[in-house]
Symmetry: C2
Subunit: 697 residues, 2 copies
């Protein structure tokens, strides 16, 4: 199945790839965008299935409409601000490059990312209420189906848009050496939109969550999602704009980033390395897209597996679907790689990436669900301070195995592949990890849908029975989401690494003898400067959540005090005000982190030069990965420690241990859903912006 | 005043320095150890002055004796464990090097560090009670004098032992090219003892502090240092073993580390660089010791300044002493450098280091005393969770300016000095920052003495008046200590950087063409692995404090419940048990972090090689500096936010805001006094161990 009859010997005659070399895979190059299109059709069919489920009557429909509207209003306002940013950057790119290719790719990337987020959120806000109704009327299995289908629309859209957008651009520019680098613009568009969405959505969801919980649960003593709580609509809107749309753009950018980086590395690799690995360079460049195409097919298979197994326990179904899809992908990718006549060691990089991802996921599961969680809960016996200390220690300790896994993937790739080609293996490892994004993302998005379904059930007063089913679904979602989160951090780290490698190779191409020696003062300066960003952006986002939550708390307290009859259930809260506080805070506070991430590489690159910029990426990468793991796992551990107490351990709900655990959970909220996840994207934005401007510096 | 008539031209004839080159400064080489000896005499005189102050009668003397005994018992047990470690490492070094020079230097370094810590703590536990008595009988000025003299003994001992130990070794080995590297063993001894002391002392002091405060202040509602609290003696012992002995070893190792690194860099620098900078290599190698000697003299002058000004406000006196000593040092170092006929640009590196240190100190002061502190206190209005979020954000934000300062010092040094010699400038900058350690350390150690004096006053029931004076002294100590802490982090970061540079140069000497290219997979792997250590060690130490505090809380609660009449003041608490809990926890939990830090570079160096080891140091350096700043400043900010509330803001003591602020302070305790400070030493231990084993790999 070799796509190129041009042998290694003939390739060696060319110093860089040319049209002729690529011409032979032209017939396969149509596949990714076509498959992407098909994926979108499947997503649409799944959406149709979701929308055929009953959407409930009066009160339920009203609440669902309010959540849907709140989410859509936020997205519209967010995208209006993003539009300004995109126009400005497009103009700057046009000025910088004096050509239309890179700016165009940037706009396409931004639009694809935005579209994926929008579609995902649209369908999630349709699926949530239908999950509630299904739970009430048909029971757990049906509810799981709707929630999972709702998430699947998102998963499939993310994967399909990536293939469609990137595949089309590759079709246009991939064969044209003078404009191949334009593809990087796609990644820059996707990543910068993702950073804004993640930060904005994260601030929105957590300020609402923290505010609603602290006043509602702790002070007023009413249950979560109680309709009397003025912050509860904002909280449920937040689940969608943060955990669905934000995360969708997040995974989308890692997914595209890993492919773009691998393509870029393949395109600048030395000819010696190319001939050791494959028949020709075109095959190596096309491999990431081919793997992702295969991954999309496997994901659809995985979704079918879940469908057929969902009658049994939901947890088993979800687990089987994910692991099944991954196994099918790994096995079939062996034949794909063999078919391309690419050295089989490259397949081992895929395996290393996938296994590494699973290891990271399992470690995440341990730290956010195992013994450490019970330890944190127990430390609640001596108050919130010891809960905080234990949680922070857990988060910091949790970095050990994942980072060793990342290091092992780097080492394995570089030992397996010929010297200088190791980073290609790292990139392919990241692509391997992310190829089955269609199903992993479906399960990730399933979580907030189930969460929302529970919220609607509570608000509509559907009773214990329904709530129990949605709680069950939610819990399953938490576990699988934890694994997915670990996966995402690992993959994003590898993707960033590959993009940085591509950056270095691109600079090397233009400046012969360019190296990033740590003992070079400029590189070292860059490393220190780069390390600032993850800490500073975390500080900005933590503070944004803290401040918005502070305002939210004041507003909710005010309503409880000033609206007569509210706590007794005789009056309606003014939920719009709370939505407004969260919206404004999110939109105002997302700007600085986003602009910083995009502007910093440009400034450092043009003022201190490529060496400092390379060092900066190195320093930022290390700190982003470590902080992301620390914050995500500490947050997850606190969350589950609280749930552990709520199940009746150490005194259960209402005890002093519970109060202490709630404090931990509240601090963990911005950790795990705002600051932590923005770290992945931050490093990817910085790396891809550097890659885009590499030819200019 | 040139110490060498051998001109640049003649030096160029030699490929490395030789005895002849160094012979001419032999007459000056006696100066550092002699000055060190004189410094010890001055320290002894100051100690005599302290011990002439009245030590109080019955109850006061009894309490003081208990604290003194507790501290001494802990030191003895700590040093017994350290002795085993030192014997083992000495044997391993002897096996590795097959010569006695490096093992000897290691033992000397360990002994000097241990001696400095021991003397400092001995005198601090004499000065504390005398400060109490002076405050009661003679008023604030006399109390300040005693406390400051108590601290000065420590400051002078640290500086003098450094000059005496390192100066003597330099005298023996410095002129002998085959054994010059043995001096690195001194740094390794000093650093590893420091790490154990810092971690052990930090765990001790904070487990006692957290335990005593949480049960005493928050639960039982009795004042701090109340004699009824069973944990109060352990708390006061902790101030001495952690904040005095631990910190003494900490600063001692940075002080010696910066000198050793500069000497090592000068000894391996290319001849071209040497001739551009000075008449001969010997002058450049001797300069760090000469600067430190000058610094000791300036420190003694500074102490005299404080003495003469202490009649005025204590704050002004301390500030004048420190800044005065620094200014005299900077000015006179100009003449010193000119006298050595060293290029004047080197002096600018001293200035850059000193100014950078002051900038970092002022930033620290802002974040731990300015607006951010009031913001944290205000966030207490919405509970402990928002206090935690605000404090963490403050800590993370506080890294920005200090890290930019460090980057600026690197850039300035590398632009001023000829290519390849920039790191020498960085090392000299660190030496410049740390030269006046005699006085900065005196002020640092003054803090815990004043703190202890207050504790004794409270325990002995000396009344409002005395307590007010000691509180005033304590508060002044906090501000100056904050500046000192920032200084220490900056200096340690630069020292580590210089040691790493020396490591790279040493490896280069043995492996020609050795570079640490970030895009090299081995280097990158090392960077990721290195970044694990700061996080993991922080987790270990945080957890140690959390666990020990948990046990302490249980024990104190038990005593309050089971000892009849304790809370009414009719029975005596069993303070020995609490001392025992803290001692055991500290000794047990200090082992793993210390062994990890020493063993990791050896393992990585021998298994993955020097490239991975170099990368590891880079990754660890970045994360250690950033985490150290984050944790120290978040902790300081929480501490002062609590104090701000206790002054009557936002409801004052006993309010819900106060309770929230106490939670912040409690989490901040291990941050700022256990995990944070151990970061500095961790990176220095890893770096110096690498430097020592560099010739072997």
């Amino acid at each position: 199945m070799s796509v190129s009859p041009v042998g290694p010997m003939s390739s060696m005659a060319h110093s860089h790839y040319n049209n002729e070399e690529l011409g032979n895979i032209m017939d396969l190059m149509w596949l990714p965008p076509v498959l992407g299109g098909c994926g979108l059709v499947v997503a649409f069919i799944v959406y149709q299935i979701v929308s055929k489920y009953p959407a409930g009557d009066n009160l339920i429909a009203e609440i669902a409409a309010e959540i849907h509207k709140g989410a859509m209003v936020f997205m519209r306002r967010e995208y209006s601000i993003l539009a300004i940013f995109i126009v400005v950057v497009t103009i700057l790119l046009f000025i910088g490059f004096r050509s239309w290719q890179t700016p165009l790719a940037f706009v396409v990337g931004a639009l694809c990312s935005g579209f994926a987020g929008y579609v995902g959120m649209f369908s999630a806000t349709k699926a949530n209420v239908r999950t509630t109704v299904a739970a009430k009327e048909k029971g757990a299995a049906a509810a799981l189906s709707v929630a999972f289908y709702g998430g699947s629309v998102m998963g499939l859209t993310v994967a399909s848009m990536g293939l469609l957008g990137l595949g089309t651009l590759y079709l246009i520019f991939g064969g044209d050496p003078t404009h191949a680098e334009a593809i990087h613009g796609f990644g820059m568009g996707a990543s910068s939109v993702a950073l804004f969405s993640r930060v904005g959505g994260g601030i929105y969801t957590k300020s609402a969550d923290v505010g609603a919980d602290l006043v509602g649960k702790v002070e007023a003593g009413i249950p979560e999602d109680d309709p009397r709580n003025p912050g509860v609509i904002a909280d449920n809107v937040g689940d969608n704009v943060g955990d669905v749309a934000g995360m969708g753009s997040d995974i989308f950018e890692s997914y595209c980033g890993s492919m773009i980086a691998s393509i870029a590395i393949a395109s600048t690799m030395t000819l010696t390395s190319v001939t050791q690995l494959a028949a020709d360079r075109g095959d190596l460049m096309f491999l990431p897209l081919a793997l992702a195409s295969l991954g999309l097919i496997c994901s659809i298979l995985g979704i079918v597996i879940v469908k057929f197994m969902s009658a049994k326990s939901p947890e088993v179904a979800l687990r089987f679907g994910t692991i099944g899809a991954t196994i099918i992908f790994i096995l079939s990718s062996f034949f794909l790689i063999a078919g391309f006549e690419i050295q089989s060691h490259v397949w081992w990089c895929v395996v290393a990436g996938a296994v590494g991802g699973i290891v990271i996921g399992l470690v995440t599961e341990y730290y956010t669900g195992g013994k450490p969680v019970q330890k944190i809960a127990k430390d609640g016996e001596t108050g919130p301070a010891t809960v905080m200390i234990a949680g922070l220690a857990t988060g910091m300790e949790s970095v050990v195995v994942p980072v060793i896994s990342i290091a092992a993937i780097i080492l394995i790739s570089s030992f397996l592949l010929p010297e200088g080609a190791g980073v290609y293996g790292v990139g392919i490892g990241a692509v391997g990890m992310l190829s089955t994004v269609g199903i992993t993302m479906a399960i990730d998005a399933y979580g907030p849908v189930a969460d929302n379904a529970g919220g609607i059930a509570e608000m509509a007063g559907l009773g214990e029975e329904t709530r129990k089913i949605t709680d069950g679904l939610d819990e399953v979602g938490n576990t699988t989401a934890a694994i997915g989160k670990g996966f995402a951090i690992g993959a994003a780290g590898l993707a960033a690494l590959a993009i940085i490698a591509a950056f270095i190779e691109t600079v090397e191409k233009n400046n012969h003898g360019f190296t990033l020696n740590i003992s070079d003062p400029l590189v070292l300066t860059g490393m220190f400067l780069g390390a600032i960003f993850p800490f500073f952006v975390s500080a900005l986002t933590m503070r944004a959540v803290g401040d918005a939550a502070f305002d939210m708390i004041k507003e909710i307290r005010r309503q409880f005090k000033e609206i007569p009859g509210l706590l007794e259930g005789n009056a309606k809260p003014d939920t719009g005000r709370c939505v407004d506080i969260a919206t404004k805070a999110a939109l105002r506070r997302m700007v600085l982190p986003g602009v910083l991430a995009v502007a910093a590489p440009v400034l450092i690159g043009f003022i201190l030069g490529p060496k400092a910029l390379g060092g900066m990426l190195g320093g930022a990468l290390i700190c982003c990965v470590l902080l992301a793991l620390t914050m995500a796992n500490a947050g997850g551990a606190w969350d589950n420690a609280k749930k552990f107490v709520e199940k009746g351990n150490f005194g259960g709900k209402g005890s002093s241990v519970h109060a202490a655990a709630v404090v931990g959970d509240t601090v963990g909220d911005p950790f795990k859903d705002t600051s932590g996840p923005s770290m992945n994207i931050l490093i990817n934005v910085m790396a891809i912006v550097s890659l885009v401007i590499a030819p200019l510096i």
